[in-house]
């Protein structure tokens, strides 16, 4: 089962507006397993990527947060 998308929006630290969640990526780190966020179903850490519609700044967080 894939991890559900968190309902909370990331907020741009520059502009304080809601950022756009535009992708999820499977991170397959070999040197730092980040075990607290490992998703066995997908075989790694699923990371969300967000961008600010105002300034373009990017942000990311583990999808399971």
């Amino acid at each position: 089962m894939m991890t559900a998308t968190p309902a909370t929006k990331m907020i741009c630290p520059n502009c304080h507006v809601e950022m756009n969640h535009h992708c999820d990526k499977l991170m397959q780190a070999t040197d730092s397993p980040q075990s607290t966020h490992q998703d066995e179903a997908v075989g790694g850490v699923l990371e969300e990527f967000h961008s600010c519609p105002n300034c373009g700044r990017g942000g990311s967080r583990p999808a399971s947060d």
């Binding site: 969640h21 535009h22 990526k25 991170m27 105002n54």
Partner: protein, 192 residues
């Protein structure tokens, strides 16, 4: 909303070899990119990045390089072909970031002293680009027989490369604009 802010498209010179002809190529490409309205560019020489070689990956991230890639809307990689591949140092540098590349455009300029213009190095780079989250364009520029394309001072001798670079930049800029709009406005999950 500042949708009209300039695109930032740095040019990465992907070799450390002494006497590298790719330096001349990178200068030409940076110069041409800088002429485009609404585009800001910068030359990133990988030999100037203070990355250690006793570790690898995001653990050795350089804050300056990271900030430039984070700001970038697209990248241009100038890569020579060494033994049918790209340089090891280029991979070392590229691997030092990850989230900074996601959903950004990339165009690759190949360089070789032979007739194929770095085509094999470019082909080897494509799967790396994909895993980094970059979106490749279908235009490349291939500087084949590069020793005949520039004089000893680095002056471009064959103006045909300017036209080829223009085509490449048009496609890259279109992709950069499109992906910027997507990153900033199109949600992954429309129902969220």
């Amino acid at each position: 909303m500042d949708a009209n802010r300039p695109l930032f498209i740095p040019v990465i010179l992907g070799t450390a070899r002494m006497g590298r002809m790719s330096l001349h190529v990178a200068r030409v490409v940076t110069q041409e990119a800088g002429k485009r309205a609404g585009v800001e560019t910068e030359h990133i020489d990988i030999t100037r990045l203070p990355l250690p070689t006793n570790d690898a990956g995001e653990a050795i991230k350089d804050t300056g390089y990271s900030a430039k890639i984070d700001r970038a809307d697209a990248l241009i990689i100038v890569s020579p072909e060494y033994n049918h591949g790209y340089s090891g140092l280029l991979k070392h540098v590229l691997d030092s970031c990850l989230k900074e590349y996601i959903h950004k455009a990339v165009g690759i300029v190949g360089v070789s002293t032979g007739p194929f213009g770095g085509a094999r190095a470019i082909q080897n780079l494509l799967p790396v680009m994909r895993e980094l989250g970059l979106v490749t364009i279908f235009w490349d520029v291939n500087f084949s027989n590069v020793q005949k394309v520039f004089d000893n001072e680095g002056k471009l001798l064959d103006e045909a490369f300017i036209g080829r670079t223009e085509k490449f930049l048009k496609e890259l800029i279109w992709m950069a604009r499109t992906l910027r709009h997507g990153r900033e406005h199109i949600p992954l999950d429309e129902s969220a």
